[in-house]
Amino acid sequence: MSALKRPANVVGAVLILLLFLYPLVGSDTRYFESVLIVCMLYAIMASGWNIISGLAGYVSLGHSVYLYIGMYTGAILGKMWGVPPMYLMVLGGVVAAAIAVVVGFITLRTRSHSFVIITIAVLLLFMTVAQNWKSLTGGTDGFIVKQPEWNKDNPTTPYYYTFLGLMVLTVALVAFIMRSRLGAGLVAIRNDEGKAASIGVNTTLYKVTAYALSAVPFGFAGAVYAQYLGFVTPTTALAILMSVFLVLAALVGGRGTLWGPVIGGFLVWGANEASTVLAGEFSARLLIMGVILILTVMFMPAGLLPTISRFVHRRKSQGSAVAFIDQASIAQTSDVAIDSIVARTGQSTDPAVPELEVKGIVKRFGGVTAVDGVSMTVERGSITGLIGPNGSGKTTLFNCMTGTFQPDEGAVILNGEDITRQKVWTRAHEGLGRTFQITRLFKSMTVLDNLVAPLEKTSVRELVAGRYSGEEVDRAREVLDFMGLAQFEGQEAAALSFGQQKLVELAQVLMLRPSIILLDEPASGINPTLIEKLASVIRRLNDAGTTVLIVEHNIPLVLSLCDRVHVLAEGQVLISGTPDEIRNDPQVIEAYLGPDHMLEVNDV
């Protein structure tokens, strides 16, 4: 798709062109240049913020700290080396990114709420340091920064073009991230972090990377801004206000979009400038900005650009209803070569080593021991069933296998290797795939995007690769074809029925070429036709060598599919055996129905 086909890109390009021309053709431009410089500063900051808070969904309220870090880096090093801070903008970016990595590593492991709070704390902590480390920062008075020769008449134009350049670079950075697999992963994290981890996304790495990248434009801009202002002072209230403005800018424009934060920067600072002219006083401006923030959150939460584009789309798509495909048509499996779907290289296939083994797993929640010393194996190439009454510990055991929980005792062994302490995404890379009882697709993404989101491995090359780099898309189409889902490729996942979503989730797992697939109640909540379809897919995958472990309440399905079945009751393995053995075992009936029912069953 050509970049200029999207209207927002045209608007953005025109904006940049106009900004470029303005000082050249305008007369008496000094005042407006100075206003536009701050607009561009906010556009830069809002775009940077967009990387962590728009794409990944982790809202930061203290991001202006990275501008101050850039300002102090430029000003302090500039003073030490006798260089104007502006020339040190790269260092500003580097220092901001380095501090962001440290902060990100500490804070991004907390869940989203704590993260928001910590970002404020980091801002205040930095300001406290800046106010008190007098020998370095000049304390609350701050200090005057070194100026170059050409700065004698306080020109605005050089700063104007520098900020314009930085703004273009920031937009380019964001555009690059959005098109990369890193960007796809970040959106996946915003949609469902736990799920993202289960398909191999190293969520910690992704978040820290995004956080650090989001600080870079701030650091660059900070060094330039310090010189433009001519001094640096640590004024906490201003720093917080700046955070409000930049968040507001991204929000008004449309967070998660490329141009929204840029447009927002101009709108918000423009409005602020206008209210300074109209309302004048600082307090009135605070009030106005606060009210705009409240109104935006309440009435236009998606932001200006998405709201406009939705409006345009609605008008366009009137009359062309989305075609719904009947269930029967997906029930046919196409005859794509199964081997290319499941082929996994570089793994031992020694049949003597079980595919998956758990030894003495114990997991307690408070006083409840959900899993109480379970040992079992899943033989290579088998379809193994795990059944048991509600509350018998199936799902907990499952979660210990996939790494969602750490067992309190015991070991999980995948293909002869102890993976008990490994992260969820590492297990995914090692060949352990899972689906969820209640599907957890990335609802706002298309089916195809859902399939290309998984990562086979984590490396820099992989992260910067294009989201739709040829190989992945080919493979995704192949898998969709195999599942008979090809016609849904461009649909949003949320538009599919629950049963269809289950098939897409299985397709998503196949993208990682798992050697074993763990299916959590695949048949619950879907219609008999799809259950048939699912059973045939499972059999075909298994014929091609994939091991399958199924947790399921649909006993007939389990008994017809599985080679071997383990029955759990009250957190322990009650019995293991072939389907026939299980069917006729009185203990199993007792476990399911309780001892009172035994007589009735025997009577029959």
Partner: protein, 291 residues
């Protein structure tokens, strides 16, 4: 002796923090909303107390129930009018909403009271209670004790009353609570009102100890947020423990390295989070059943 003196100071201040932060953590527990406007609620109550005291010369402690009730009502309005509508959009948006509320309130307070320090100075303002060598200034002593009383009352209310049980049920499982007849809207309104009430009481206690002006909301909200992260989001006992840690570490820092007291507290938080991302008493929830 000096140590005992500092400890006593720290514990009294910790009590005030505990009252204020339990309001924030309660709101979070029930609604999943981080009320970053708690600082401005606090300052609002403090400045209103100052205004009434300035006009009438009334004993400020008598205003505790009045301000508590007033702010509870105010919180209820904010919840019904604004928060309720934004909650479905998720915690990120409610934070931004409350941020907007905080900023707008600061603007209004600036316009109404001016951007100047205000303090309430009742007759006991400069007096102290002397127990042996221990010197406890009355403002600190009274504030700490009043905060403890309100906090204990709140604790028993949550533990023993039907409404308290309903709140805790709703905090643990909204849908489940709804099934047994607890309206999540009512529970949320109540939580928000109680949270704002703690700010109402706290505002009175603060202004007899410290001079306050609108922008001091940032200092307070930063501390309160730090406390609830350190204690574990949503855990009231956690908030109390973290408040004591803050109060005591601040008191020591104040005595020996005054300018670094804020930095030390935030430093402690970052170190704790490195080892326990969920906070001191925070819980890791069973994701699989809650989604």
């Amino acid at each position: 002796m000096e140590i005992v003196q500092i400890l006593a100071f720290g514990i009294l201040m910790g009590g005030v923090y505990a009252l204020l932060s339990s309001g924030v953590t309660l709101i979070f527990g029930v609604l999943d909303v981080v009320n970053v406007a708690q600082g401005s609620f606090l300052v609002f109550s403090a400045l209103l107390t100052w205004q009434i005291w300035d006009l009438t010369g009334i004993e400020p402690l008598l205003l505790i129930p009045v301000m508590g009730a007033l702010m509870a009502f105010f919180g209820w309005i904010i919840y019904r009018g604004l928060v309720k509508r934004v909650v479905p959009q998720g915690p990120g948006m409610t934070v931004l909403l409350m941020f907007g509320v905080a900023i707008a309130m600061e603007g209004i307070l600036n316009i109404a009271f001016g951007n100047k320090f205000k303090s309430v100075t009742p007759p006991y303002f400069t007096q102290s209670l002397q127990i042996g060598e221990l010197v406890l200034p009355y403002p600190q002593l009274i504030s700490g004790v009043m905060a403890a009383i309100v906090l204990v009352g709140l604790f028993f209310y949550l533990k023993l009353s039907w409404a308290g049980r309903a709140l805790r049920a709703s905090a643990q499982n909204k849908d489940g609570a709804a099934l047994v007849g607890i309206s999540s809207i009512k529970a949320s309104s109540l939580a928000f009102a109680i949270g704002a009430m703690t700010a109402g009481v706290g505002g009175v206690l603060l202004i007899i100890m410290y001079p306050i002006y609108p922008a001091t909301q940032y200092d307070w909200i930063a501390k309160l947020l730090g406390i609830i992260v350190l204690g574990g989001m949503g855990s009231i006992p956690g908030a109390v423990i973290a408040s004591m840690i803050l109060g005591i570490s601040e008191a020591f820092a104040q005595a020996y390295i005054p300018q670094w007291s804020a930095a030390i507290f935030f430093g402690v938080i970052l170190v704790v989070l490195l080892f326990r991302p969920e906070g001191l008493l925070g819980e890791k929830t069973r994701e699989d059943v809650t989604t």
